[in-house]
């Protein structure tokens, strides 16, 4: 059982995980000087979708996401849907790992083969998840101050280069461009369905910390975008692959504090690790709850083999990934996040109303 505060922090770190270095460039390119407004709109949508899930979960108290299809649709169809969710979580984990190794290869460690990063992260993640959800929650709670304070401290150190003029003119350009960018809804907000695997384990209800976490992550993203635009300007930030990294690279206090970008790399690594923890937990719990095996560690070994393979197979190169992200993320995510829960909800309502009618007929 994890506490509400731990779940709240877990939600924030899960959303910020890969977003902070994969999406910033694309958001600035789409939104221009007003990109800092985009997380509020997308966060609002994320909260609506979260409310929709919470409604579904209210009909099945104490059950996690993959147990609901089993309850609603019976064993065969439910198992099929749960296996689909398992593959979905594996896909997401593969993306996370591949983003990580692209980042490390592109910035600090260009020679290391990608599988080294994948396997190392997976080994530690599987060990952590094997200890249970409490370990995940507690670990996140302890680590969050070590992420939060250095990140903002380093960004504040860079404010010697701040220029308010980079943010002007405000709200002048076309707001429609912001609203048309639907892939921001998909990644990262719709991917938070992986956190619903932890819903039954949160003491005193998971709804409120989940929605609060969504909102806080949006505020955090918006502030980060605001800082990036003010420090780099739209022209550079929309072209650099890792704007946060470049901002920190250019920090130079006096002549002494220079080249401190290693701090940001470590912070991003840990954030990604937490996102990976949630996804590995989701995948392994799916296996455990659907098939109910009696041993534990062989399945972690199988997961490691599968996920390290998927990390290398998930996309060809960052350019193809960018294209996929813009066109298909929303459709792909909404299948798992909107369509299937909607069908489950409809089935549940139908069952409830028919159940009441048959009861009334019988009594």
């Amino acid at each position: 059982m994890i506490s509400r505060f731990q779940f709240y922090l877990l939600t924030i770190n899960y959303i910020l995980g890969t977003t902070l270095f994969v999406l910033i460039q694309r958001l600035v390119k789409q939104g221009g000087q007003n990109a800092w407004f985009m997380p509020y709109w997308a966060g609002g949508f994320g909260v609506l979708v979260g409310l929709f899930w919470i409604l579904l979960f209210r009909h099945y108290p104490g059950r996690s996401l993959v147990q609901i299809p089993l309850d609603a649709w019976g064993r065969p169809l439910g198992t099929f849907v749960s296996v689909l969710y398992f593959l979905y979580f594996c896909n997401l984990a593969g993306w996370v790992l591949r983003n990580l190794s692209d980042f490390m290869n592109g910035t600090i460690m260009p020679e290391t083969p990608k599988s080294v990063f994948h396997v190392m992260f997976l080994l530690v993640a599987c060990y952590t998840v094997a200890q249970g959800a409490e370990a995940v929650g507690r670990l996140n709670q302890i680590i969050t101050p070590f992420l939060f304070f250095p990140f903002w401290l380093v960004l504040l150190l860079a404010t010697v280069n701040w220029d308010w003029e980079r943010l002007q003119p405000v709200f002048h350009s076309d707001l429609g461009a912001i609203l048309q960018y639907h892939s921001f809804l998909g990644f990262p907000y719709m991917e938070t369905i992986a956190l619903t695997m932890l819903f039954p384990l949160v003491k005193q209800g998971a709804g409120r910390p989940f929605l609060l976490g969504l909102w806080t992550a949006s505020v955090s993203l918006s502030m980060t975008l605001f800082m990036i635009i003010g420090l780099l300007g739209v022209e550079r930030a929309s072209r650099l692959t890792f704007p946060v990294y470049t901002v920190v690279q250019e920090v130079s206090i006096g002549e002494v504090i220079v080249n401190i970008h290693a701090i940001i790399s470590v912070i991003l690594l840990i954030l990604i690790f937490i996102k990976l923890l949630v996804l590995v937990y989701g995948a392994s719990e799916t296996l455990r709850q659907v098939f109910r095996p009696q041993t534990r560690w062989p399945h972690f070994l199988a997961l490691t083999i599968l996920l390290s393979a998927m990390a290398l197979s998930i996309y060809e190169n960052p350019i193809q990934n960018g294209e996929w992200d813009e066109k298909y993320t929303f459709i792909y995510d909404s299948f798992f996040v909107l369509l299937i829960p909607f069908l489950l909800l409809v089935t549940t309502w139908i069952k409830r109303t028919f159940g009441k009618r048959t009861k009334r007929r019988m009594s």
Partner: protein, 394 residues
């Protein structure tokens, strides 16, 4: 139980293999620390030549008395190729250590390369993961090869010499500004703005290539380079030069706060006054469909360096201030007229209009036709150790 042991040992072995950073480790003495980079492009053949000035770790006080004589503080390697990317591979034909450019302090670009366009150079720096765009960029007036192979007296590493000179110039004069870094160039060029970068030239025809000789020579102007003048850039290309006098007005009208001493001719007398900008306000008014820009400068004067003449009474101070107001207004307006004739938007009027009047249909035309008025208000606040200079008797 043995199963667990075996699995544990296997995992530990994997950790040992995977945690040693086998692929990316580099020892410190395998690195070539670059302190200055110079770039030249041949206009006829398009060949790119890059000069890397590498710090010599063996030089310094601890190495005195080593056999073989004095060690040079830096070594300059020159390498050519058809593109900058190719140079990354071919540099190792000359360089015995791994190139590490994360600590470079200055970027020099030859004038002929600047005339052709620096966009390739800037793109190359931004694309490299280790390249820092926060280094200042200077344009070389003359032979870049000579400047890159010049030792400097007093400050042994030439890039440190340039860096500290720029800092001193920014504080103590209006001959250099803060926005001379590569990332400033990118920002301004991408907005179709202009930027002025400092220029550097060698002081003598044949500088010595022996650092011992340079260190022991009393004439500091002999083996050195001098920073002076400005190169005007528009659309990544150098379109003209400014001399020192024009540079002063350029920096003043763009809001730089260095303390600059200049000799003015006031009422038939020469007086060297120190100016410092305290506040600059730029306002845009619409006058019968033509925008007009009013620039108001508030300057602080100091008579510390005025060894020729110091005002005696408040009336004299007011007259001096009034005269200086007029002189500065006229000269800066003349500077603006000169830039307008040459088509250089050095006062960044277009940028100002873009921010204040974003809905104007044709910003470029409006910027060209804008009427600019400059109002200067000076105030004498400081005097030196003497309140009147010596006059002699005759």
């Amino acid at each position: 139980m043995t199963y667990r042991y075996a699995a544990g040992v296997f995992i530990l072995m994997m950790f040992t293999a995977l945690l040693t950073a086998c692929w990316d480790k580099t020892e410190m003495n395998e690195l070539a620390l670059v302190s200055m980079v110079g770039v030249d492009i041949d206009p006829d053949s398009g060949k790119k030549t890059v000069y890397y000035q590498i710090i010599n770790p063996l030089s310094g006080t601890s190495a005195r008395g080593t056999p073989g004589g004095e060690q040079a503080p830096v070594y300059t390697y020159e390498i050519s190729g058809s593109s900058f990317g190719e140079i990354k591979s071919t540099i190792y034909k000359m360089l015995p250590r791994k190139l590490f450019i994360a600590h470079s302090k200055v970027l020099l670009v030859s004038q002929r390369a600047a005339g052709q366009g620096i966009r390739d150079i800037v793109n190359f720096i931004e694309m490299q993961p280790n390249g820092r765009s926060s280094v200042p960029m200077l344009i070389v007036d003359g032979s870049i090869s000579q400047v890159m192979k010049t030792f400097t007296p007093l400050e042994r590493v030439p890039s440190d010499a340039i860096d500290s000179r720029l800092k001193l110039l920014i504080r103590n004069s209006l001959l250099a500004g803060k926005h001379i870094k590569v990332n400033d160039v990118i920002e301004r060029m991408e907005k179709s703005d202009t930027i002025v970068l400092p220029m550097i030239a060698a002081t003598s025809e044949n500088p010595s290539s022996n650092s011992g000789e340079t260190a022991a020579d009393i004439d500091a102007n002999q083996n050195n380079f001098i920073i002076g003048g400005g190169a005007v850039f528009r659309d990544y290309r150098m379109v003209g030069k400014l001399n020192d006098a024009q540079l002063v007005w350029y920096h003043l009208l763009n809001g730089d706060e260095g303390r600059h001493v200049r000799r003015f001719q006031v009422e038939g007398k020469q007086v060297s006054m120190e100016l410092r900008l305290v506040r600059m306000q730029r306002d845009v008014f619409r006058q019968s469909d033509q925008p007009s820009v009013r620039i108001r400068l508030d300057l602080q004067l100091s008579a510390t360096w005025a060894n020729e003449f110091v005002p005696r009474s408040r009336a004299e101070v007011k007259r001096l201030e009034g005269n200086l107001n007029r002189i500065i207004e006229n000269e800066s307006l003349a500077f603006y007229q000169m830039t307008r004739e040459r088509g250089w938007d050095l006062l960044r009027i277009r940028d100002l209009l873009r921010k204040q009047m974003p809905n104007h249909p044709d910003i470029d035309q409006a910027a060209k036709n804008a009427k600019v008025t400059i109002e200067v208000a000076t105030r004498l606040l400081r005097t030196g150790s003497m309140n009147q200079p010596y006059e002699g008797t005759g």
